[in-house]
Symmetry: C2
Subunit: 138 residues, 2 copies
């Protein structure tokens, strides 16, 4: 089993403050003989639409010496999980959760902007100290 990200509990708290109920910790997906584990599954009742919104959340710290390598690896994991979810749980939207300082660093540079514009990457940006969600992209 993969080690939990250092912001695991922070993101749970931030999601709960935002009205989400954590339903899976982790969310396990089987594809053929492989098992992929996404950090969290969560649900929220959208009252206006009277429907349950479902998300999957993968948390990434970007702690390696190379932010570009971290970005490549996070994107690869995102695309693999997104494709498996498309097939197995198509109503659930996948998000990558990163803290504000990571967003202000690599994701605000040309390479990060390029990937946000040209891939399906979706972000939850959180404030680690306040334990709150700052922004959803898109």
């Amino acid at each position: 089993m993969a080690a939990k990200d250092i912001y695991h509990d922070t993101v749970i708290t931030a999601l709960e403050k935002d009205g989400w109920t954590i339903t899976d910790d982790p969310l396990t997906l089987k594809i053929g003989r492989r098992t992929a584990m996404i950090d969290l599954g969560a649900e929220k009742l959208i009252a206006a639409q009277r429907e349950q919104q479902k998300i999957a959340v993968e948390i990434k710290s970007f702690l390696s010496p190379s932010p570009l390598k971290d970005l490549e690896n996070a994107l690869g994991q995102f695309i693999v999980y997104a494709r498996v979810l498309d097939r197995q749980d198509p109503d659930r939207l996948l998000y990558l959760a990163i803290k504000n300082s990571v967003f202000k660093n690599i994701f605000s540079e040309e390479i990060g902007q390029l990937l946000l514009e040209t891939t399906e990457l979706r972000l939850i940006i959180f404030d680690a100290k306040m334990e709150e969600i700052i922004q959803w992209i898109p």
Copy 2:
């Protein structure tokens, strides 16, 4: 500078046997303040079309204990490089070079097939012993 893949010279030989001229080793791309280095750039004259075909080749060994993690990381690197090439050198097609045994393993499983069907991933499959290209996908 990143370490060269153990099949670096093997893939050069296989491409040359297939009529390609290695033009870049590595192929360096700049995006903002980041530098990405793709293992090889190569060109081939397609006589019938009287034009130069250009490729970029990233070589991956899949040597880690987790083929799924290797696949995620290789896919992430591929998508990042492909997006940068789209913008900076749109006539050059990017390929991921893997040996035959890797293709027969993770890429022949459900997860590998799913990614080949639903992403832009392009593969060069080589025989490491013969130092020859076996297949281009697609």
